[in-house]
């Protein structure tokens, strides 16, 4: 029984040793060695290109992030309306050089107010300080 098993094992081994023998014999060792060396020689260049290739990839990611952030900012502005308009006490472009320190503090405080109120009651806060022109401008902007 054991002898029989051994014979079978040996036969199996012999057949296994023949597997791939033809392909191995056909192999041109010198050509293979030169081909491998040539590819290895090219590898540093490939690595350099790979690193260079990272640049555009990161640029693409950065560009995508900028677009997403920009779109988010635009959407937020559109959704909330032009918030700064609601709190404008000193119209943009007005010469501030004639204002005193306390007047400037008041102006800055007024500019801060809409930001503080964003989480609160919304655009109706501070409308009482707007003149008819400002209100018309605000309505036009809300109408799009």
């Amino acid at each position: 029984m054991n002898d029989d098993a051994t014979v079978h094992d040996r036969e199996l081994q012999e057949v296994a040793q023949r597997l791939g023998a033809r392909a191995a014999e056909r192999l041109d060792l010198e050509r293979m060695a030169q081909a491998v060396v040539a590819r290895l020689r090219a590898e540093p260049r490939r690595r350099a290109w790979a690193w260079a290739g990272l640049g555009p990839t990161w640029l693409r990611i950065a560009a995508a992030l900028v677009i997403v952030a920009g779109a988010g900012a635009i959407a937020r502005t559109w959704w909330h309306g032009p918030a700064p308009v609601a709190g404008v006490v000193v119209p943009l472009g007005e010469d501030l050089s004639g204002l005193t320190a306390s007047e400037l503090r008041d102006a800055i405080g007024a500019l801060d107010r809409p930001l503080e109120d964003e989480t609160g009651s919304g655009v109706d806060v501070g409308l009482e300080g707007l003149g008819p022109d400002d209100l018309r401008a605000l309505l036009r902007s809300l109408e799009g």
Binding site: H8, D9, E11, L12, Q13, V15, A16, Q17, R18, L19, G20, A21, R22, A23, A24, E25, R26, L27, L29, E30, M32, A33, Q34, A35, V36, V37, R39, L40, R41, E43
Partner: protein, 183 residues
């Protein structure tokens, strides 16, 4: 003045690997010359079509040289190469399946020599190859490393990341299943 110490006629694999890591391309070429045929036989045994063996051998060496820093001498370089070769072949087989390209089998490919003689001699090989294809990869690799390459279980276990006892069990399972397939 004493003559310079003669350089060893046959450098060890470890010496060649160190030389390659130091930038000696000829050391890499020598490693290829030394191990390519054994690797080709192993790949042939694991189911690589003859026509693809050259490419697979080349790819195996490239991967091995790129990752040679990971080789810590846990087993012989040749054995390590064969484990890489097995992975290269599996990757290739996945690509072939995806692209639906079926490499020609030995039975339908033109062969050198007397066709009848080739058919008779190749019948057992074809049956064994078919049986090997049905084995789990670990059993197949253990069987080939043992039966074809003549490695000890310790060496096989170190290469495949298992224990010698487990390698022995894999081998016996493989032999049992292959015998069933061949009878």
């Amino acid at each position: 003045m004493t003559p310079a110490e003669p350089v060893a006629a046959v450098p060890t694999d470890a010496a060649l690997i160190a030389a390659w890591e130091g930038g000696d391309e000829q050391a890499a070429a020598e490693l290829v010359r030394r191990h390519a045929r054994a690797l080709a036989r192993f790949l042939g045994g694991t189911g690589a079509p003859d026509m693809d063996v050259d490419d697979l051998v080349q790819e195996t060496f490239i991967r091995a040289f790129r990752a040679v820093a990971k080789f810590r001498g846990q087993c012989r370089f040749r054995t390590w190469l064969m484990t890489i070769g097995g992975n290269v072949l599996r990757d290739a087989q996945r690509r072939w399946r995806r692209s639906r390209l079926v490499p020609l089998g030995d039975d339908v490919r033109a062969a050198d020599g007397d066709p009848h003689e080739h058919a008779v001699a190749g019948e057992a090989e074809a049956r064994l190859a078919a049986g090997l294809e049905r084995l789990p990869p670990m059993q197949r690799d253990v069987f080939l490393l043992r039966a074809q390459q003549g490695l000890e279980y310790n060496e096989i276990a170190a290469a495949l990341g298992t224990t010698p006892g487990a390698a022995r069990v894999h081998y016996h399972h493989a032999v049992k299943r292959l015998k069933e397939h061949m009878t």
